[in-house]
């Protein structure tokens, strides 16, 4: 039997800079029942606080609701593992909520095959940004990626779309069903998960010559 192993804070993420969650990975338990607590100190504030909510985001996590989330203070977060033999603290993690945004994926994905006059058809993919405060005021930038694959293959084809909220795909297999997803990333933040999948059947005459 021994004191617990050193826990590790895996990551902290915020969907919209109004709340955030941290997750940790327990260390070894030293052969004894071990409890975990998350404590934090905020810049400019001497006090140490404990995690306000261990439940909302599931096991080994701490959820900071609006009430506990400030974009004006850096959080210094530590996870402590305690058993009968002692307590072991993780390395501290410094968190600035504005820099840990992992947004919700884009919304309103729409697919349309376009047939310009005498040109090759193409697939027009369009979407809307997720619902984030500052984005609506056009004040920070979001980048997007698209992935698509036909039902015949398992391999996704990924396209970087920069800041566009629409994208044209020219080369597709005619007569195939295609699945499309998009994801997004704020300029200093993390990629969202891939969003809702949409599907479209590419017509057989899709590669009409120029």
């Amino acid at each position: 039997q021994s004191p617990p192993g050193k826990p590790e804070i895996l990551k902290c993420r915020s969907p919209d800079k109004e709340t955030f969650t941290c997750w940790w990975k327990p260390g070894t338990d030293g052969g004894l029942p071990t409890n975990y607590s998350l404590t934090y100190v905020r810049e400019g504030d001497e006090n140490t606080y404990e995690c306000p909510d261990y439940k909302t985001s599931g096991p080994n996590s701490c959820f900071f609701s609006k009430k506990y989330t400030s974009i004006w203070k850096i959080y210094i977060i530590t996870v402590n593992a305690t058993n009968q033999m002692g307590t072991t603290a993780s390395e501290p993690l410094y968190v600035d909520v504005t820099y840990i945004v992992e947004p919700e994926p884009p919304r309103n994905l729409s697919l349309e095959v376009k047939w310009p006059k005498d040109r090759k058809p193409y697939l027009l993919i369009r979407w809307s940004p997720p619902n984030i405060t500052d984005l609506r005021s056009g004040w920070f930038t979001m980048e997007y990626e698209i992935r698509l694959k036909s039902e015949e293959t398992d391999e996704w084809e990924i396209h970087f779309a920069g800041q566009q909220t629409q994208f044209k795909i020219f080369s597709l297999y005619p007569g195939q069903k295609y699945f499309v997803q998009t994801r997004c990333k704020p300029d200093h933040g993390y990629w969202s998960r891939w969003g809702q999948e949409s599907a479209i059947d590419i017509p057989n005459d899709f590669t009409m010559k120029d």
Partner: protein, 197 residues
């Protein structure tokens, strides 16, 4: 993630001003939306704008009215004016949210936006206080207060007076939130970028 090698974690002024300006921009956008929606639905043809002249409870605040004036005022004084402007809206915004239900078919969007503005102004104030603490530690605390005494007219029995009271309040909120947004953008360029945004 921002690294705090020395453990002395301090948010940079640039980071803080970037956030301030995002919030103030957003607050004004919301204020504009509420005003325009109210104006189109309730104020057309009533000549309210003529009656709204000199009608803002914050008009006594010595706020600059053009670029030169704004650039001549010392930053800490301009920051204090911004705080005075924001504090002047604590009570009116609270009453707006409370009383807006009294408007015939008040659109839901108005109430939710007013609440959102209230919440975002609190965020903005927190940020400004922090910046003042960093840029002008120990700056004296005296602040100019503007009294808002238009609650009775928000609750007036006759509809015309009540609608005008709302119009005037939203007109002034739009104006003052634009002032706050503009002043913070100037301060950001002055303090963080030495007037070279």
């Amino acid at each position: 993630l921002p690294i705090c090698p020395s453990g002395d974690c301090k948010m940079s002024l640039q980071d803080m001003f970037d956030r301030l300006v995002m919030l103030s921009h957003y607050i004004h956008s919301l204020s504009s939306e509420i005003f325009i929606e109210f104006d189109q639905r309730y104020a057309q043809g009533r000549g309210f704008i003529a009656k709204a002249i000199n009608g803002c409870h914050t008009s006594s605040l010595p706020t600059p009215e053009d670029k030169e004036q704004a650039q001549q005022i010392p930053p800490e004084v301009l920051l204090k004016l911004v705080i005075s402007l924001l504090h002047a809206w604590n009570d009116p915004l609270y009453q707006l949210v409370t009383e807006v239900g009294g408007i015939h078919e008040a659109p839901d969007g108005m109430v939710s936006r007013a609440k959102e503005i209230e919440a975002q102004i609190k965020q903005l104030l927190e940020g400004i206080q922090k910046i003042i603490g960093q840029v002008h530690p120990g700056a004296n605390e005296n602040e100019i207060y503007s009294v808002w005494a238009q609650l009775p007219s928000l609750q007036a029995a006759d509809e015309e007076s009540r609608l005008f009271a709302f119009y005037n309040l939203l007109h002034c909120l739009r104006r003052d939130s634009h002032k706050v947004d503009n002043y913070l953008k100037i301060l950001k360029c002055r303090i963080v970028y030495q007037n070279n945004c």
